[in-house]
Amino acid sequence: MISKAFKTVYWKEVMENLRDKRTMMSSVIMGSFLGPIMALGIIYLTANMGKEKAEKQLELPVVNMAYAKNLEKHFISQDVKIINLDKSPEAAIKDKDHDAVLVIDEKFGEDMAAAKPAKVMLYYDASAKGAANVTVKRIRSLVNAYSSQIGAMRLQLRGVSPNLMNAVMIENHDQSTAQSQGAQLMLFLPYFLIIGLFMGSMYLAIDTTAGEKERKSLEPLFLNPVSRVDVLSGKLAATVSFGLLTLVLTLIAFKLTMPFYPTKSLGITLSLSVVDMLLMLLILLPLSLLAGSIQTIIAAFSKTFKEAQTYVNLVIFIPLIPSMLLMFMPVKEKLWMMATPILSQNIIINQMIRGEDVSWTNIGVSMLGTLIVGALLAWFAVRLYNKESMLFAD
């Protein structure tokens, strides 16, 4: 079944590509290592920043602290460093001098004495990044604690139990596990794996089609007494092989960087066993056929290497869509999703990262669905050059 021409073309393309050190570096090595290393850097940064803001002594700029002596005492007892502000609260937030500014109302003391709600104004930017929100949360809880403390005292003075105020009490039962919290951080993993796959096969998909046409070696190649389908199948197989190689390297790179994730300081567990990794490889296997075929088809319609590169680069953004969607909205998986290439791989790998059970039915449907689409595209890709107008660049 496997013809000699297929094998000849396959090994020639593989060997020629391996000899091209620059391409190997930029597509295979970069494609596989860039993701894990970038991810590690970002996680480190966010983890450290969040931790710093949560544990560091709170520096609180307060305007008119003198109006609220008791509140000041409360702050100091809670280890808050009160600082003076030399500009308007609005400007301080806008210039990013402080995450939040507290302003005491002029009638604070008066209202407090009259047992009316005394007012403080909190200035902050709700659209600011995560670490700033930590500060705002801390200030809120400080002020709220003071408020309920005073309220409770007032009720007690009037002989009323403060508990009457708490008609309903919420008891929190957080069902997230240390692993599912870690998964929050790993949501990007399927994306990086799929990107690696696409990047690894991109170069050969272009080089063996549009590149050969541009360098004028496609015509002599087709003059050999072999079918064009055999030649193209060999080329496609080589393309897919490099996609798979990059995928395997990406998985290995993730495994190698895993111990360096700041899991302890974040209080989470990240685990990716060798079995998990092999399962991910299995799930992504059919996708490599689809990636290589799409890229080959697009490249074949281009006249030059550059033109092909522009279009094929755009294709890399396709896997971004389901990954992004899943990052922002939780999805209850349905069977049609499992049959949708790229989306299904994203969902299943996310489930694995969260430590949930992944059903073999889902894996089967995902692999079969992707394989069918991939095979259809491959069938089309290897027949492209049966059309005469596709043969020449001019």
């Binding site: 020629e16 000899r19 004028k216 070696s217 007494p225 072999v226 030649v231 020449f392």
Partner: protein
């Protein structure tokens, strides 16, 4: 032996080749002579079964190339207009790749490439990667890989285009040797001296159609001229006037 009967091809509105016929016999060098854009490359592409003629028939050693292009191609060695090499493979590897696609055994490939490397004078660069080869070196590799399987029919599209005197002579000598071995050689050219120097039979085409067929002497007699260049101009303008 190659016979071409009334082949035609048009691309959209443009009729590139109309009713071209010719016969290239074994033991002879036959030329397809024509100006740039006369339809030489399109005719050659149909003859070597890369594209299918809209009318007419091409047979290669009796095999109809439309019905069985793969067998027809196995009987031919072609140096097409496009002669790109794989720049990260050596000259020898470029040849071996095509030899394998021709279905040759590794031993046959080894013997035959050794022979061609010697005959075409490629010893110095045979084991270098072809990136940076001169025009002449590249054409030699392209010819060698095209005829590695020692085909009965050798087709060349403007083989000496852009080559220096030394390379041109080497290729002419090689073609004469192949002719002496009884091969059928068909090549297209727009260079009169070239055709005059090596060819036995000449088919002149202009605007996609055959305007004259014969030996050099016959063409001179037919047009009342003393050299091939004048004969060519006379034949082509006569055709245009008619």
């Amino acid at each position: 032996m190659i016979t071409v009967e009334n082949i035609s091809k048009s691309f959209g509105e443009v009729q590139a080749v109309k009713d071209v016929s010719l016969v290239a016999e074994d033991g002879k060098i036959t030329a397809l002579l024509g100006a740039n854009g006369a339809g030489k490359t399109t005719s050659m592409r149909m003859i070597y079964a890369l594209i299918t003629p809209q009318t007419g028939v091409v047979t290669v050693d009796g095999i109809n190339s439309t019905d069985d292009p793969v067998s027809a191609r196995a009987r031919m060695g072609v140096l097409p207009d496009a002669r790109g090499l794989y720049k990260r493979l050596t000259a020898r590897e470029n040849m071996a790749y095509f030899g394998r696609l021709q279905g040759m055994s590794e031993a046959q490939i080894k013997n035959r490439s050794g022979e061609l490397i010697e005959r075409l004078g490629m010893e110095k660069f045979a084991d270098r990667q072809t990136d940076g080869f001169s025009q002449g070196q590249r054409v030699k590799v392209a010819i060698a890989r095209a005829i590695l399987h020692d085909p009965q029919n050798i087709l060349l599209d403007e083989p000496t285009n852009g080559l220096d005197v030394m390379s041109t002579r080497a290729i002419r000598t090689f073609l004469r040797e192949e002719k002496a071995r009884g091969k059928c050689i068909l090549f297209s050219s727009h260079v009169m001296q070239e055709v005059s120097a090596v060819c036995d039979e000449i088919t002149v085409i202009d605007a996609g159609a055959v305007v004259a067929v014969g030996t050099e002497a016959e063409l001179l007699a037919q047009s009342n001229q003393s050299n091939l260049e004048d004969a060519f101009v006379s034949l082509v303008t006569a055709g245009a006037g008619a």
